[in-house]
Symmetry: C2
Subunit: 342 residues, 2 copies
Amino acid sequence: MAAAAGVSITTVSDALNGKGRLPDATRRHVREVADRLGYRPSAAARTLRTGKSGLIGLTVTTYGDEPFTFTEFAYFAEMARAATSAALARGYALVILPATSRHDVWSNVALDGTVVIDPSDQDPVVSELVRQGLPVVSDGRPAGSLPVTAWVDNDHEAAVLDILDHLAAAGARRIGLLTGTTTDTYTHLSTTAYLHWCERVGQDPVYEAYPAHDPCAGAVAADRLLARPDRPDAVYGLFDPNGTDLLAAARRYGLRVPDDLLLVCCSESTVYASTEPPVTTLSLKPRRIGTAVVQLLIDAIEGAESERPLEQVIPTELIVRTSSQRRAPRTTVSAPRSSEGK
Amino acid sequence: MAAAAGVSITTVSDALNGKGRLPDATRRHVREVADRLGYRPSAAARTLRTGKSGLIGLTVTTYGDEPFTFTEFAYFAEMARAATSAALARGYALVILPATSRHDVWSNVALDGTVVIDPSDQDPVVSELVRQGLPVVSDGRPAGSLPVTAWVDNDHEAAVLDILDHLAAAGARRIGLLTGTTTDTYTHLSTTAYLHWCERVGQDPVYEAYPAHDPCAGAVAADRLLARPDRPDAVYGLFDPNGTDLLAAARRYGLRVPDDLLLVCCSESTVYASTEPPVTTLSLKPRRIGTAVVQLLIDAIEGAESERPLEQVIPTELIVRTSSQRRAPRTTVSAPRSSEGK
DNA sequence: CGCGTTGACAGGTACGTTTCTGCATGATCA
DNA sequence: TGATCATGCAGAAACGTACCTGTCAACGCG
């Protein structure tokens, strides 16, 4: 390449990178020759020399041997999409790396930093990365004393309390929960928030837990919840498919939604806008999280003293639809309009 | 590292890579010291030296500036998941690279090969990659004369014809289509197959097209289709959300599914198992496609004379549910059982 | 005893950049 | 006119690995 342009290697490098002291004529000439030859500087050599690869790991938790689960489809897809966009805009690319992947794959790719989704308590991958001096930013606050560089999360407790209040305000007397058996932070925080709320308002907890990675188990658990003798008159489901599963279960038991059963589930899916009835959902705003996580990580990589806070809480959004808005009870004569009526 | 173990660089390399002629004692010693020091060979240096990075690009088509669209969520997520697993199992990792991404990002990452999802006619990225001598395998047969190394696809025409026959057998007299305005191969092949079928059986085509990347437009198009004077009594929707949108539209017009309207849509989503009624879906088997694509690509990368065919057609699967199975018509006395009845 | 052979390593080079340093050349200025 | 200085480039040293090519000892064999 240098020979083809009749200049030295240095000049080529400087011309292509806009450095050095070169007259515009030389710069143009080199670039032209490079274009004509289809010359691309070697990414590997550049990485070796500069120590920067422009690659960011995106680590997803695995259940079994699959990288990510049905439960998280919509969330993961949106989050990954936003993260990809944000990274790209700053010249980085994302590498998908399952947390439990073989060690050789991890050490075979030169990463500038890593995004970790929902890291477990003593995640060995995270510790290893941090030990190597790589910045690690997590989606979901780190459990235990995991030494991440920064994290972004929702306020799951507040979100759950909000939903329970919302359901109670809509007339729910006994609110049930569909939760998971896994030990991740999201499930844990949400469940304890539910239990605290029950304690506070003096309601017996009514919940069913199932392995969230198994879509069939979800349908069964939804059914079980509505088959209980102490059947709830409102349910919050922590996972994406719970909404359709609960709707189906309600139909099986002849329960009308929202008349006999109020429903909310946590989901990023748009299908709940056109189910019968449309279901109220809690959005965790994966796009904002994905963007924020990547920004924090790249700030850390580039050593820019980030003016962003290193621990960010993204607000959730409750999208209220028919399933959690009870019509005026049929057994009651419709009361005169009152904006204060409880 | 070499110094710490008291041996030469060569010996370290040989010991860690299982090459050379070293006694087990030396090999163990070197590995032990490496472990103790937390030493990891530099991926960048290895890539530079060997010319192999262990990275595979995963190129997704973009609409607007977002890497992938709502329409393809479930398909993309499943396909990417399978591809990630397959790549990982052979020691490779996936890099997400939007097709329209900035050129500098593409040339900043050392790829061994690339998977392209639904490449457009004269995709400049693909041409560039091929020119560089990199293997490219596409999900979806290449349009035009795109010189991909190999491809994997479904037989979309056959799938559509199958569905139309299925609907006709269920009693449909006028079958409508919900299709897209984009020019990708999937939309094109499916639509022409529909038109051919209509011509063959002598039915006037009844279809609405909308920009598939816009979820709102889908709902509107579904509504439009059922509002037409020549309203179809059966509809096939090419895109994932069409099922729920059509169900909602049918409810608005007081049409019962499947009694007044038969419904099928192409989707990988499990929600259609528990909608009211459950909707018949066509699965394109993204997991099989993702796996096959990665296998072909890695075979090409490693120069293994693949015993796999370079053009693979993955069979689709029609998951028949209530929405496309008409009960015995109410206006007719139920006929004696006859397995030949048309 | 000499010679080939094999085992066990060390040396050195190349991979393709980036970047520091150096060296001309011509212009500017005292 | 000589000293200073900016300009325009070339040389060369890394970066850390893989692998080819030695070298040196020990050993078996005729």
